[in-house]
Amino acid sequence: MSDIQSAETMHTDTHDHSHDDHHHEANFWNTYVFSQDHKMIAKQFLLTGIVMGTIGMMMSVLFRLQLAWPEQGFPILEKLLGKWAPDGVMDSSIYLALVTIHGTIMVFFVLTAGLSGTFSNLLIPLQIGARDMASGFMNMLSYWFFFVSSVIMVISLFVTSGPASAGWTVYPPLSALPQAIPGSGAGMTLWLVSMTLFIVSSLLGALNYIVTVLNLRTKGMSMTRLPLTIWAFFVTAILGVLSFPVLLSAALLLVFDRSMGTSFYLSDIFIGGEVLDHAGGSPVLFQHLFWFLGHPEVYIILLPALGITSEVIATNSRKPIFGYRAMVGSILAIAFLSFIVWGHHMFVTGMNPFLGSVFTFTTLLIAIPSAVKAFNYITTLWKGNIRFTPAMLFSIALVSTFITGGLTGIILGDSALDINVHDTYFVVAHFHIVMGLSAIFGMFAGIYHWFPRMWGRRMNKTMGYFHFWLTFISAYGVFFPMHFLGMAGLPRRYYTNTAFPMFDDLADINILISNFAILGAIAQGIFFFNFFYSMFRGKRSAQNPWKSNTLEWTAPVEHIHGNWPGELPTVHRWAYDYSKPGMDEDFVPQTIPLGPGEEETH
């Protein structure tokens, strides 16, 4: 706090770093590498997330090749997988490893760190009017723990016995016993080490976000004037702080079982021709601990995307977000409910059926705040003056996938129905649409929208349009048909479906899905090109390119340490005074005082 205040009072001109008496001379290392500036850390998170995302996406293409054309050799598989793909046909262990690491990378490294890490870091200080995060140092540590964790996860791909391959949920005993699957050896150890560091990173980041939002809001920025992005990041951070430690304890007990002979999760096991000493543990305990994080994690992924969408949709519809208070209320309701629904992942574990009823009840309740959000987004578009930036397109796509995927959640959350679709492709379709697609669309929306804020340049519009349509179409093309596979009873995580003649007629659907997956992957090439090209060569952006109300657009385009030259901006109104009657322009930045006789909207 005091650092920030002194920085504020000492500030004299707009030149970089000039106000800092407590920072060292700016050089390459502390500007680009060990930076404590939230804007640089945001970029670091984003770039690392993009690299991890590319790895995760390529993996999905590889296993989609296997699923559509099993037994057919692909030279590219042999090249990339080496001994795991003799004659270009991947073997079943590496298939499971690819699915596992794809899930881990996408859920944690891309959609948690890459999404929340990037935009919480970039936007929290800029949108609440703070010089920086409460602790720049912790923020830097958060990134570097994430970086090391990513590196270890990538290294785990190269160990001799193969990477972790027990599914991203790493249920023991499969994940605990190298005898059960080779990936549960060194690969799994590295997975656990990587995830531990990841949790540290996530906690350091989340604590910082919470403290910053609570303490460093500028004058006039009451909680009810916060843009919905900040509400989303704030609640996300609280979810993270409450749930990630539970994952850490789950992982630690797994480490004990693996290396120290304890029996938290293991009991009565006969494997590799011998009985193990473990007795008295319960594998289901792990699932309880895992999903106590795992379900809030879904919202840790989704809420930031919804927050970004709220902002992007309001700005580009040139209308206030419809029902601001209901939006905040539903974020809080979803966050609360997310802690009491984890058992819906475990209806068929042999859990007491009465408990199943309770979890069905709480799970289906989530549909109510979710429906409120969906309707509010739709109504925000109503009578708007919509400007279709690529960010806006991705936001509308998010609302579409949020609805589609949310609806199938009503099937899966119902314990009686879950019996027959549990762990089938119906689940794969559901969570990829509601969580994967929605979150990644939110992330794209954020990147397109705040790219000028991050790099001071614009991304190319036309390439953005191409990227959007190819991505949107192929996304539905991949995941929509999967519902039918699930209804046909096809289990997920099958290396090939040819062992069961009853699934032979699904081969065509799998080929269709894989073709869309390949198209979608190629479409990301347009994005990568646009992203990196625009970073260096894009057209320079105006200070407020989207005519937006929020504070980040009142700061100079060139990044400066401390964000604003001179005084911090003072806030006089909420963030959504778009097209307010009686105003000259169709937007009124939060820093503009109320005019004479003007009523505060909110």
């Binding site: 079943s92 262990s93 016993l177 509010n376 397109l393 099937i411």
Partner: protein, 341 residues
């Protein structure tokens, strides 16, 4: 070497596209156009695309529903499964209705209110009445679904006390299944993996009197119309016993015994005569014939549905539902545990 060439080609292609974009941008700049500003034309075009996408989506949705109807599971072959299928049908109708209402609204509004520079949006910040309506309507619909769902769940999970089911153990291990029938006493003998030795692959305790008449098999035969209580065990890792045709699934957890009760009510032979099944089998056989594979005949199966290792994808057991007579015949041809020792 070829990899290097590919990389060089990719890099050069990237540079070429970059230069093309550059030229495009410079020529626009010369013409005084800012190619990144969103023009009214862009809005018009994208708005139309949104509408077209919506129609495309619905046409595809209908097409898929029609042409993939046949691949879905046939009617349930168990008593509780019929209730589950009803619940599924009603839930599907509800969510399809919501889908059909909300998606068009979203895309239509996007199309209808595509912006023009000269226009201005209508300032509406909230509407308590509307918001109450769309909080309460989903709440009421969900209340109905929850009540119906829970009653189905309860009748599936809690069976009437007076029913005397046949007790059968399903035993899972990497990568196969066994069934153990409880024999004449309808009581399974105690078993633990610590007793596994030689032919006693399920670790049945031979000192427990109840185990002597137990019958271990590699196929699961069930008499039609008779309640069965499955008790599930696993030897090594978690497996999941999935019998999709009966709407049955339960995890098999090492160190614990889980259970699921079911009453099969359609025999294998009867199921083979179902219209759906005949059509599906014909489609499958056309595919298999073209590939020169053995022809397929419909059978119920038990498959593993929890990732359990490298051959997870091929862990199956055939299930036969037959008349009591046929079942008894088959049973009498099997050896009891005492006989195998």
């Amino acid at each position: 070497m070829s990899a290097l060439l590919i990389i060089i080609v990719l890099v050069l292609a990237g540079v070429a596209i970059g230069q093309a974009v550059r030229i495009f941008e410079i020529s626009n700049a010369l013409k005084g156009k800012d190619e990144n500003e969103i023009t009214d034309d862009d809005n018009k075009r994208q708005g139309w695309y949104m509408l077209i996408f919506m129609f495309g989506m619905f046409i595809t949705f209908i097409w898929m529903s029609a042409s993939y109807w046949e691949v879905m599971l046939p009617k349930s072959a168990s008593v509780h499964g019929k209730e589950v299928d009803n619940l599924m049908a009603i839930s599907m109708i509800v969510i399809t209705a919501m889908f059909v209402v909300t998606q068009p609204l979203l895309f239509y509004f996007a199309f209808k209110y595509k912006g023009k520079k000269a226009n201005r949006a209508t300032f509406v910040s909230h509407n308590d009445k509307l918001e109450l309506i769309w909080t309460f309507i989903p709440a009421i619909v969900l209340a109905g679904l929850i009540l119906y769902g829970l009653s189905t769940w309860n009748s599936t999970m809690f069976r009437p006390e007076d029913e005397e089911p046949m007790i059968v153990e399903i035993y899972a291990k990497q990568f196969g299944w066994n069934a153990r029938y409880s024999g004449a006493d309808n009581q399974l003998g105690y078993a633990n993996v610590r007793n596994i030795a030689g032919v006693n692959v399920l670790g049945v305790d031979d000192t427990d009197g109840a185990s002597l008449d137990d019958i271990v098999t590699t196929e699961l035969h069930l008499p039609v119309g008779k309640p069965v209580l499955f008790r599930f065990r696993a030897q090594d890792v978690i497996h999941s016993a999935f019998m999709p045709h009966f709407r049955v699934q339960m995890n098999c957890v090492p160190g614990a015994v889980t259970q699921f009760a079911v009453t099969p009510d359609v025999t294998t032979v009867e199921m083979r005569k179902e219209q759906d099944v005949i059509a599906k089998t014909a489609t499958i056989n056309a595919i298999r014939k073209a590939k020169g594979e053995e022809l397929y005949e419909f059978d119920y199966v038990l498959l593993c549905n929890k990732i359990c290792g490298s051959a997870h994808y091929n862990m199956q057991m055939k299930i036969v539902v037959e008349s009591q007579e046929e079942f008894d015949n088959w049973m009498s041809s099997q050896k009891t545990f005492a006989e195998t020792l």
